[in-house]
């Protein structure tokens, strides 16, 4: 059962991710990204990270991607690419992608895999990944990092409002 759930989640997530870059129509790309995020949430559930899974859906699928879908639907329906890709980019792009893949593979094989146990998720202890556990981590153990991130987000939000805000017409002095 666990294996089945894993493979459904894994194939869904990878398939969604591939579809994001493979599809020509931006609207379908955005939808593929939503599919990817939902299946990724399923994988989080398998890892017993329930809070993360719910937050993933609420924040990414439910809020961030809604805006993307909104924009893609308004602008959408553009079948031809937004700009002509230059021949240099066509060569450099795949090279960079392969380089990144090799780098990640080295990192994963070198460190993360050794950290994996074969004991399974029964060993991580009750309450792992529940809102209580995540809350304790964020608001007690890593409070400063959490607050720094929230201030960063606040600054970004204010900046976005200022950048996007219309300039008010100057009042005429009579």
């Amino acid at each position: 059962m666990v294996e089945l759930a894993f493979f459904v989640g894994a194939f869904g997530a990878v398939g969604g991710a591939v579809a994001v870059v493979a599809l020509r129509n931006p609207f379908y790309s955005v939808l593929a990204l939503v599919v990817h995020l939902v299946f990724l949430a399923g994988i989080f559930l398998l890892l017993r990270a329930q809070f993360l899974a719910a937050a993933q859906i609420v924040v990414y699928a439910g809020a961030v991607m809604v805006i993307y879908v909104f924009v893609a639907a308004y602008v959408g329906g553009i079948e031809e690419p937004m700009f002509d890709s230059s021949p240099q980019l066509r060569i450099i792009g795949p090279i960079l992608a392969v380089a990144l893949f090799i780098e990640i593979s080295i990192a994963v094989l070198g460190s993360s895999l050794t950290a994996l146990g074969t004991e399974g998720t029964d060993k991580i202890g009750a309450g792992f990944g529940t809102p209580e556990a995540v809350g304790k981590l964020m608001l007690e153990d890593f409070l400063i990092a959490f607050e720094a991130a929230s201030i960063l987000l606040l600054v970004a939000a204010v900046a976005a409002i200022i950048l996007a805000g219309r300039k008010r017409p100057e009042k005429k002095v009579t």
Binding site: Q50, A61, G62, A63, V69, G127
Partner: protein, 334 residues
């Protein structure tokens, strides 16, 4: 006790009990939908000084059945400009996301080795929000894939409306979550043993109800399907049972919003009498709030679009934030 597959829960039933419970919840709620449908039409009739449906069966009670028969026998039509697969998936997605939320509504505590709820997840309320955000894609895809400007405008309106009101809705429940100290709906009901949260959280309750009207696209927030402006909004191009699915999902969502509101603010299954009455109390509270939905529909006119946005962002959101702040201070102090 078998270990749960996807995360920890405080109480786990055997697999066969889970299957029986799923079927039971399904049957009860799906039987309620036509009843609510009929009740709404009868009540609207009374509110407007007319009879409402009274031809099919005694007191018109067979009317929903006749409607379903009619919808089922209609041609499965797809407009020329529609996007093939998405057009068919969209209504199914809406129904799926509505029905799946039924699992977390608690109808009672653990009684005789049975938990009287689908599942008691620690993420509780977040589960509800997660699937209500998936429901949005059902509406938007339906409107977009229909290839009609009325559908598209309706879908865009519903998108903007959902984003605006979801935040206020989330914040309105935060006060309750803080007072109960848990996201689990079962724990939240248990925390209301002394006093129902509607008393200390009256502001949160009102905000939740208003946002709930907006989330279910009901009057006075039914701009996505404002028939005077947009024909029928996102469901304009849908006919037969595909339209029926949207309609059906809307009523399940009304029941769910009523259920969540009863659980969070009205003490859920709590009520006088022996414990076997608990599920009945819960259903009674849900149906009372559903009646409230109908009452409002008969009473209020539709908002203008800019009024809707202004109300959501400039009144509800600050009010909900203030409620959260005040509750947080009070919870820490007391």
């Amino acid at each position: 006790m078998p270990a749960p597959l996807l995360g920890d829960t405080s109480f786990v039933d055997a697999t066969w009990i889970m299957i029986v419970k799923s079927i039971l919840i399904f049957v009860v709620i799906l039987t309620l939908v036509p009843v609510v449908l009929l009740a709404e039409r009868k009540l609207l009739g009374r509110f407007q000084q007319r009879y409402g449906p009274n031809r099919v069966g005694p007191y018109g009670s067979m009317q929903p059945l006749a409607d379903v028969g009619k919808l089922l026998s209609k041609q499965g039509f797809r407009p020329k400009g529609a996007v093939p697969i998405l057009y068919e998936i969209a209504p199914a997605l809406t129904v799926f996301s509505a029905v799946i939320t039924l699992a977390i509504l608690p109808f009672g505590d653990v009684q005789g080795g049975w938990g009287l709820y689908g599942i008691d997840v620690p993420i509780g309320v977040l589960y509800f929000f997660a699937f209500s955000s998936i429901a949005f894609y059902g509406l938007l895809l339906g409107g977009w894939a229909s290839g009609s400007k009325y559908s598209f405008l309706g879908a865009m309106r519903s998108a903007a409306q959902l984003i605006s009101y979801e935040i206020a809705m989330g914040l309105s429940l935060l006060g309750v979550v803080m007072m109960a100290g848990s996201l689990s709906l079962v724990d939240i009901v248990k925390a209301q043993g002394e006093i129902w949260f509607i008393v200390p959280q009256i502001v949160g309750f009102l905000i939740f109800l208003v946002a709930g009207f907006a989330e279910t696209n009901r009057v006075p927030f039914d701009l996505p399907e404002a028939d005077a402006e947009l024909v029928a909004g996102y469901s304009t191009e849908y006919g037969g049972m595909r339209f029926g699915s949207y309609f059906f999902a809307e009523y399940i969502e009304i029941l769910i919003i009523s259920g969540i509101a009863s659980t969070m603010f009205l003490g859920g299954w709590m009520g006088p009498g022996p414990s076997w009455l608990d599920p009945i109390w819960m259903l009674a509270k849900m149906l009372f709030l559903t009646f409230f939905f109908v009452w409002i529909r008969a009473t209020l006119p539709r908002f203008r679009y800019d009024q809707l946005m202004t109300f959501g962002w400039k009144i509800l959101l600050p009010l909900a934030t203030l409620n959260v702040l005040v509750t947080a201070v009070l919870v820490v102090v007391t």
